[in-house]
């Protein structure tokens, strides 16, 4: 009978344990880490967080972890780290201070933990206050028909005085090159005139105006005409020097005439 009773008891305990274990798993999952768990546990003290007994809190936490272990609940590593640290803190708080020991005192450590709990609680409080504020799209609203801002791209053109002068200089420099090249174009050289006349003087038995030796197509443009006239005249002089032709002029500004020079005897 006693055995039966005992077995019943065990049975009952097992059921209770199982239920407790399930509840704890749920609870542990519901906590956001050891600090959250500590904060929840601290509420059972029903005092201002500033007056909380850290020693009592450490005991509560360690009790919780022990219970979880007994129920073979797997606790995340950080819960166990916190448990180890709280056990250390508890010993520091209980034992008289050892002057040879380095590091912060138990009171300092406890004070910081209290600060952490208070700070976390404060953050939760202001988070709630923040979310309770009037919110955009819920309590106040933006313009329903916003107008698009048309983007107008405007180009400002710029140039410096230097650009301007360089531009002008560029044109004028090109102008200076062009006459130089074009002069050659409209220049009838003496060599060209000589060549032309040498091929023609064979027929110049009678006096003829040297203007008739002007190359064709050079009399329309005054520049070209001047050049051709000068070249033809210079070529004539050259031919006289060579003894190939004779020149004569009736008077000032009279036409200059040319004829082939017959080789003289003696």
């Amino acid at each position: 009978m006693a055995d039966d009773d005992f077995e019943d008891l065990i049975q009952t305990q097992r059921v209770a344990e199982r239920l407790a274990a399930e509840a704890l798993i749920v609870d542990v999952d519901g906590f956001e880490g050891p600090l959250d768990l500590l904060l929840t546990l601290s509420r059972t003290q029903k005092v201002d967080l500033r007056k909380i007994s850290i020693l009592q809190l450490a005991q509560q936490y360690l009790g919780f972890v022990e219970q979880a272990k007994a129920l073979r609940i797997e606790l995340a590593a950080d819960y166990l780290v916190m448990a180890a640290w709280l056990a250390f803190l508890k010993s520091r708080l209980l034992l008289p201070p050892d002057p040879s020991e380095e590091g912060p005192s138990g009171e300092e450590l406890a004070a910081h933990l209290a600060f952490q709990l208070e700070r976390l609680q404060a953050m939760r409080d202001v988070a709630a206050k923040l979310m309770a504020r009037d919110q955009k799209g819920r309590d106040f609203f933006v313009r329903g028909i916003p107008e698009d801002v048309m983007r107008v791209k405007r180009v400002t053109w710029t140039a410096t005085l230097l650009d301007l002068m360089q531009g002008y200089a560029r044109i004028r420099t090109r102008d200076e090159f062009r006459p130089f090249v074009m002069d050659r174009d409209s220049v009838f050289t003496m060599e060209q005139a000589l060549e032309r006349m040498r091929s023609l003087i064979g027929y110049a038995g009678a006096w003829t105006d040297i203007s008739s030796y002007m190359p064709e197509g050079w009399d329309n443009d005054p520049v070209r005409r001047r050049s051709a006239t000068a070249a033809t005249f210079a070529a004539s002089l050259e031919l006289v020097k060579e003894g190939k032709v004779e020149l004569r002029q009736g008077g000032m500004f009279e036409p200059i005439q040319l004829r082939k020079r017959e080789p003289r005897d003696g």
Partner: protein, 217 residues
């Protein structure tokens, strides 16, 4: 009991017209589309007169930066038409003038008043309409008097805007070719002998009617 009765009654009493005006204002502002008087009233507390509130609201916005306007049989808030220009965002980009434009501008500055044909003769290439239009648009050149030559072609002259931009008092302040050369701006590759000597006079734009018009001050 009496209190509750009063409260209940006041719940069905329309808010004061000033409050109704605020409501219409907020709804018109936040609504994504124009909204009819009927729809306004459907959203406002029982007994409101949106049409009356609109009269007040319209008056309130009279002459303001935005107006309460009727769109079909609905109402909306819109920008005042004279402020439409504010709904444009201008971005300014500064670009260097093209070489063709600079050269054309330089010729006009040095030879004004100058016809298009003259510009083309000096540049040795035809001047595109776009280039002249661009310079006119920037307001660095403008039309001068017509030339008293056959066809009476229009001339171009530079503007005050041009002088301001380039920091010149008059177009005559533009340096002459000699100065350009001594400043090293002219290419000196040519053998000195083959270069036609430029005199100060050559660089000066010819004085004509159009020019005196520009330069008189």
């Amino acid at each position: 009991m009496a209190d509750t009765g009063m409260q209940e009654e006041s719940l069905f009493e329309a808010p004061p017209i000033a409050e109704q005006e605020r409501m219409v204002e907020a709804i018109l502002f936040a609504s994504a589309e124009p909204i009819t008087v009927r729809d306004l009233e459907a959203r406002m507390p029982h007994g409101c007169d949106a049409a009356e509130a609109l009269v007040y609201l319209r008056k309130r916005y009279d002459g303001r930066g935005v107006r309460v306007v009727k769109v079909g049989d609905a109402w909306a808030i819109r920008t005042a038409p004279d402020l439409g220009f504010l709904m444009q965002k201008e971005t300014t980009e500064t670009r260097k003038l093209s070489r063709a434009a600079i050269e054309t501008l330089a010729i006009i500055a040095y030879h004004q008043p100058v016809t298009r044909a003259e510009i083309e003769e000096i540049r040795g290439v035809s001047v595109s309409r776009g280039t002249v239009d661009q310079l006119l648009e920037i307001e660095w050149i403008r039309f001068g008097r017509r030339k008293m030559t056959p066809g009476r072609p229009v001339t171009f002259v530079v503007t005050q805007e041009f002088l301001d931009h380039f920091g010149l008092e008059t177009a005559r302040d533009l340096p002459g070719l000699k100065e350009l050369r001594s400043a090293g701006l002219l290419d000196n590759r040519l053998p000195p002998g083959s270069m036609p000597t430029l005199t100060e006079g050559e660089d000066e734009p010819e004085a004509t009617e159009g020019q005196s018009e520009l330069f008189e001050d």
